[in-house]
């Protein structure tokens, strides 16, 4: 039911882990629903310099988390905000329809991490 690309990211997740001194953290989902995702970002000169994830969830949840780190790394914050759920699914060669809404949370997680960074930055000024 999963594409080869999804299975590849599930088997060999990219950028898995935490960033202890992250500039922004976005946590989305809910363990009650079966998916919980934390995205950690490090920002330098308005660009995502480093990004990592931790995910509790199904194969799709883990693969989308892994994919978002590849898509967002090196992007400006504006570019990263434009990465959509659809972009993530498309880059994974598609997701089963039932997984499109419940487990395709990685873009939301990235956006939440960026907003967290902007909020912290605003507070510092």
């Amino acid at each position: 039911m999963y594409s080869e690309k999804v299975l590849d990211h599930f088997r060999n997740p990219r950028n898995m882990g935490e960033i202890p001194d992250a500039d922004g953290i976005g946590t989305v989902g809910n363990p009650v629903c079966g998916d919980l995702m934390s995205i950690y970002i490090k920002v330098k000169d308005n660009r995502i310099e480093d990004i990592k994830f931790k995910t509790f969830g199904c194969g799709a949840a883990i693969a989308t988390s892994s994919m978002i780190t590849e898509l967002a790394r090196g992007k400006t914050l504006e570019e990263a905000m434009k990465i959509s759920r659809g972009d993530v699914a498309e880059n994974l060669g598609g997701l089963p329809p039932i997984k499109m809404h419940c487990s395709n949370l990685a873009a939301d997680g990235l956006h939440a991490a960026i907003q967290d960074y902007l909020k912290k930055k605003g507070a510092q000024k």
């Binding site: 009650v32 079966g34 931790k54």
Partner: protein
């Protein structure tokens, strides 16, 4: 080549070669319809009645007229529930079942509720054993049917059927037993256990899919839900699938003859698997009753991780199993059975169901036990729910 270990027998079993061999002539040569008066018809009718007799013998029915062929466990459960409820609506409109029944029992009950019936879904304890007092209290003068699974297909828990039968009969209700997961694994005697109706599936006994049966004790009031040409004494119309019935008959005979040693062997493997999994993986737990459970059923849960990713990880090592996680269901809800035994949603998500079968060996079980710790560790390292000290 990686080892392949199939431990998902609740999802599907292979057809026993002896059953298959006996089925084959009925696809091509012995093509008669049992309703026909000619010799082809007689041959088919005889084969069908031989198959029925084998099922009668397995479950201890009094008469062959009490066993009716259906298309499988789901249809048998639908017929048992709706057929009795509708036929007896002049006597009452109330049904009692447990909160952890198979969906082919729960959904017919819900459908009857829409038609004006009432149903009680009686809770179970943390092992999945039905609360007998709650059953007794929920049976009213209006109750016409009580339905309970002999052994739960997901957590394996075996219910005190005989006691429930007594309670139902005291109030004049019939007892329907969903024995789809249990029949062929553990001895069931419909007369000794006072069962009025019982659903059986062929594939769960290593017969072909697409065929099953329902036992209906003589005198039980029931009406058909599939109507037509009056086959199966009017209770289940439709041209008979003789090949499938023959296969189911052989499967029932094999089950009867081989049940005892095979159950003992499976219980040994099951307990080895449960013990091995719980000992080798921290924060792992058994779902269901430790001893009062189906011989082939090992259901364990692992904290902080999710079942579908466990299934995918095991599949990468050639192991097939199931999970009660929402992510493997069509409804995006975790298993109502796991919630029914009091698990939280996040606990239910992390469950794995291994169902053993004839082909499984101790080596298979050892392979799974050896694979589990690393798989769980890898997924826990990824999970934000895992406590720091465990990573």
């Amino acid at each position: 080549m990686i080892r392949r270990v199939y431990m998902d027998h609740a999802a599907g079993k292979p057809v026993d070669p002896r059953a298959l061999e006996n089925m084959m002539p009925y696809f091509t040569d012995k093509i008669g319809n049992p309703s026909s008066p000619h010799s082809w018809g007689n041959e088919a009718r005889q084969a069908m009645e031989d198959a029925r007799a084998r099922i009668v013998s397995l479950i201890g029915a009094k008469r062959p007229e009490e066993v009716f062929f259906t298309s499988g466990g789901t249809e048998s459960n639908n017929l048992g529930i709706k057929g009795v409820a509708l036929r007896n609506k002049d006597r009452g409109n109330h049904i009692v079942c447990t909160a952890i029944e198979h969906m082919s029992v729960i959904n017919p009950c819900k459908s009857l509720i829409k038609q004006g019936f009432e149903a009680a879904f009686v809770p179970v304890d943390k092992y999945g054993v039905v609360n007998l007092r709650a059953i007794e209290e929920s049976i009213t003068e209006k109750t016409t049917l009580v339905s309970v699974a002999y052994g739960n297909g997901e957590i394996g828990t075996i219910q005190p059927v005989k006691e429930i039968a007594e309670m139902a009969h005291r109030k004049g209700a019939s007892l329907h037993v969903d024995a789809v997961a249990a029949c062929g694994q553990v001895p069931i005697d419909v007369q000794a256990e006072n069962i009025d109706l019982m659903s059986i599936s062929s594939n769960d006994m290593y017969g072909p899919r697409g065929v099953g049966a329902i036992y209906v004790r003589t005198g039980t009031r029931i009406e058909p839900i599939v109507q037509g040409g009056g086959q199966e004494r009017g209770l289940r119309s439709g041209t008979e699938n003789i090949a499938a019935m023959v296969g189911m008959g052989i499967a029932a005979e094999n089950a009867k003859n081989e049940m005892k040693p095979e159950a003992e062997r499976l219980i040994g493997l099951r307990d080895h698997l449960i013990k091995g999994a719980l000992e080798s993986v921290p924060s792992s737990f058994l779902n269901g009753h430790p001893t009062q459970r189906l011989p082939n059923n090992a259901n364990v849960r692992f904290s902080y991780i999710e079942g579908e990713s466990l299934i995918l990880s095991l599949d990468m090592l050639g192991v097939a199993c199931s999970s009660g996680s929402a992510c493997t269901s069509k409804t995006l809800e975790p298993s109502h059975v796991l919630l029914g035994i009091g698990l939280k949603h996040e606990e239910a998500h992390g469950s794995l169901l291994f169902t053993l079968g004839k082909q499984n060996t101790k080596d298979d079980v050892d392979y799974v036990i050896k694979a589990l710790p690393d798989i769980v560790k890898r997924l826990r390292a990824m999970s934000p729910l895992t406590p720091k000290e465990m990573q």
